[in-house]
């Protein structure tokens, strides 16, 4: 077992190390792309905790991303908060939203839960539009000039994104390998039995949802800081579908899957946009093909075929 633990530790540290080293070799364009991918992957890592390990599928996760984004953005824009306190406010906003939402929504399960998440996501989107005097509605607002100058430098962007990703990634690996993670998986496999064994499954699911929402919020908060824009499209339904797509592509229930899925999908859209603007075919087609021929995703398949020790 210690051998496995060592391998797991080395692998995950190695991935973070590779991401750190990559910044010295990447060209200008890919440098920013990878920074983006790391933030989006943070969002997917949180999503995976819920879908991959707890078995709860959310179609409204963009509301947590948006809570982080708007918490940070509004704090910086109106209260003049600095980058760090703005970030903290954003993450807090997402955590609170996830907790309140979870208290209601987790009373439902299965398909009802899924539909409720979708509707709440849409309600949050409409709320942003409704309070347009504050949020500036669909047009959104810009944070440039209100943030530390250093955030303009691409090297800073890269390492801030890496730091946010590394923390969430580490937290997810720790949770997954802890007793809590095993209970979450037990809930995924058979909630009834887990409850009969004496576990308060509602509380565990709530915990998973709050951590997942918090990570989405952290991603959203950092996204606002690094790319200086806060807008309602980040709360729209398509933005809730993306983490699902990334997680499934990379492999739900694998720690590395979300990062890989986000990266592959980002470049898939980016490269195909060179020869077709029909990128929704790419998104939709990928989803259908995944379900049909590749249900375990990339890392899930690797784990099943090559390395069963992967977490």
């Amino acid at each position: 077992m210690t051998g496995t633990r060592m391998r797991v530790l080395l692998l995950h540290l190695g991935v973070l190390g590779a991401l750190f080293v990559a910044q010295f070799f990447l060209g200008e364009y890919h440098h920013t792309n990878v920074a983006r991918i790391m933030l989006l992957a943070t969002y997917a890592v949180g999503y995976n905790l819920l879908l991959g390990y707890t078995g709860l599928m959310s179609l409204g996760h963009a509301m947590f991303f948006a809570a982080g984004m708007y918490g940070t953005g509004l704090g910086v824009y109106y209260l003049g908060l600095g980058a760090f306190s703005g970030f903290t406010l954003g993450v807090l906003a997402a955590l609170v939203l996830a907790a309140v939402f979870g208290l209601f929504a987790l009373r439902t399960s299965g398909v009802s839960f899924l539909i409720v998440t979708m509707m709440f996501g849409q309600a949050c989107y409409l709320t942003i539009l409704y309070f347009n005097e504050i949020t500036l509605g669909d047009q959104g607002f810009i944070l440039s000039g209100k943030l530390p100058e250093a955030l303009v430098i691409s090297g800073v962007k890269y390492n801030v994104a890496l730091a946010v990703f590394a923390v969430c990634f580490a937290v997810s690996v720790v949770i997954v390998r802890s007793p809590i993670g095993r209970i979450l998986v037990a809930i995924r496999e058979n909630e009834e039995r887990t409850r009969l064994l004496g576990y308060n499954t509602y509380a565990y699911k709530l915990l998973a949802l709050v951590v997942s929402g918090g990570m989405a919020g952290a991603a959203g908060a950092a996204y606002a800081l690094l790319f200086s824009y806060v807008g309602a499209s980040f709360a729209a339904i398509l933005f809730s579908i993306y983490p699902l797509l990334w997680t499934l592509l990379g492999g739900a229930g694998t720690t590395l899957g979300p990062l890989l899925g986000t990266g592959v999908m980002f470049y898939l859209v980016d490269v195909t946009s060179g020869w077709t603007s029909a990128y929704l075919f790419v998104v939709g087609g990928t989803l259908v093909l995944l379900v049909l021929f590749f249900p375990l995703g990339i890392m899930g398949t690797v784990r099943a075929r090559l390395a069963r020790w992967l977490p």
Partner: protein
């Protein structure tokens, strides 16, 4: 140079020491003057073509951020046609500074997130000289910070009140289309003088609607009019009948601006509601861009008025420049595609693509811009900030423009048309001054 331009070069007061940049400018002003002297209005002869030979043949690459998919796709299709037509015509006539123009299009899905990525991709991967072309405000606002950080000039054709609000940055310009604040300020006096003073506004419940709400109602009040009611309609709405009872009975003018796929329903239901007893109705053409005025359900608009930035029907602006523009872009006298009369253009917006490309051309030629080095970019920006306006001509078929270098925004005349016999007939043309307002920002104070 085949067009009459009156761009009056850079403001020479703002620099006292002689730098390389100033020298370049000085040299190009002379060049510009020479070109001005030699213009024949529509001459596209060998003289112009020979300009090619003089310059380097490496193309000027202009990244084109285009709404091919998403909610802006109707506009995007026409923006692309217009931009291609402008680039093709330019290339037949010497390109920009003797270099051919190459448009590098990328779809942004009408999405601010992808928009910012597209700016990065164009700037860093395709290594274009400038980025150009977006219409939807949220895409502009979402992309502008990245353009500023990457220090790449970003020319938008958006009509929104964002460049002129002073909230973007020094790299963003809107030299080809008037912003909405100026548009509505210019129209309001005509409306209160000719249609009525008590106005109810119906507008979409998002940012574009708020610009109308704020600036139009202010302009109406400034002319002694008053606002009877403000009705914001949510963007997801698909039926409007239930809103019409909220229109107060003492409304003299109903002002509507509806953007999006719901507009035909809106008009039809408005007709069903009012029948023959209707107030005066004034609309913003954005509602009906890409839509035939003769569509079923639009009969109710007969006798009402619409604002146009550039008349859809050829007789509304019968100048050689407008005719030239229409034939090059490929639209017929009814404002529809010459190839497919059912494919109606977005003529009140897309001319901005044509004119913006020419504004870029003038900026490049007068600043001596050669490649995207900090010096050349700075020279281009300072040169364009020195522009005072553009003359009507091949390059600016919609009409003359004033340009405010501090706000990076241009101002042109506007048209008010009446729906008569299922087509639009221009009944009034505003002057550029009608739309002027006190500026709220100054980009030239920002560092480059």
């Amino acid at each position: 140079m085949t067009d009459k331009t009156k761009s009056r070069g850079p403001d020479t007061n703002n620099k006292h020491t002689i730098t390389r940049r100033n020298l370049i400018k000085a040299a190009t002003i002379t060049g510009g003057a020479a070109a001005l002297a030699g213009v024949g209005t529509l001459a596209t002869g060998p003289l112009a073509r020979s300009a090619y030979a003089a310059g380097s043949d490496s193309p000027i690459r202009i990244g084109f951020q285009v709404h091919r998919t998403g909610i802006g796709a109707t506009y995007g299709r026409w923006y692309e046609r217009t931009a291609n037509a402008a680039a093709a015509y330019m290339n037949e006539n010497g390109g920009i500074a003797g270099r051919p123009v190459e448009l590098v299009p990328e779809d942004d899905g009408t999405d601010p997130k992808r928009g910012a990525e597209v700016v990065e991709k164009l700037a860093n991967q395709h290594k274009v000289d400038f980025v150009y072309g977006p219409l939807f405000s949220h895409v502009v606002i979402g992309s502008a910070p990245r353009a500023g950080e990457l220090k790449i000039p970003y020319f938008v054709v958006s009509e929104g009140y964002h460049v002129a609000s002073g909230k973007l940055n020094r790299y963003v310009f809107q030299p080809g289309i008037t912003d909405v604040r100026a548009q509505v300020s210019a129209m309001a006096p005509w409306i209160t003088d000719n249609l009525g003073k008590r106005v109810t506004m119906i507008f979409p419940d998002y940012a574009f609607g708020y610009d109308h709400r704020d600036f139009f109602s202010a302009a109406v009040k400034a002319r002694g009019g008053s606002i009877a009611a403000l009705l914001a309609i949510p963007p997801t709405e698909s039926s409007y009948t239930k809103y019409f009872p909220r229109i107060p009975a003492d409304t003299e003018v109903l002002y509507h601006v509806m953007v999006g796929p719901g507009v035909l329903t809106f008009v039809k239901e408005m007709g069903e509601h009012f029948g023959s007893k209707r107030p005066e109705i004034f609309g913003f053409i954005d509602s009906l861009e890409g839509v035939s005025i003769a569509s079923p359900g639009l009969e109710f608009l007969e006798g009402t008025h619409l604002w146009e930035a550039m008349p859809r029907y050829a007789d509304g602006l019968d100048t050689p420049y407008a005719r030239h523009y229409r034939s090059r872009v490929g639209i017929n006298a009814e404002g529809a595609s010459a190839a497919d009369p059912k494919d109606v253009s977005t003529n009140s917006h897309m001319f901005g693509c044509w004119e913006t490309l020419y504004a870029i051309k003038e900026g490049v030629e007068q600043s001596g811009y050669r490649s995207r080095t900090p010096d050349d970019v700075a020279a281009l920006i300072e040169t364009m900030e020195g522009f005072r306006g553009f003359n009507e001509g091949i390059a600016h078929p919609q009409g003359p423009k004033d340009f405010d270098g501090k706000l990076h925004q241009c101002y042109g005349r506007q048209f008010i048309s009446k729906v008569q016999g299922g087509r639009l007939k221009v009944v009034h043309t505003t002057s550029i001054e009608d739309g002027k307002y006190a500026p709220e920002g100054d980009y030239t104070k920002q560092p480059l």
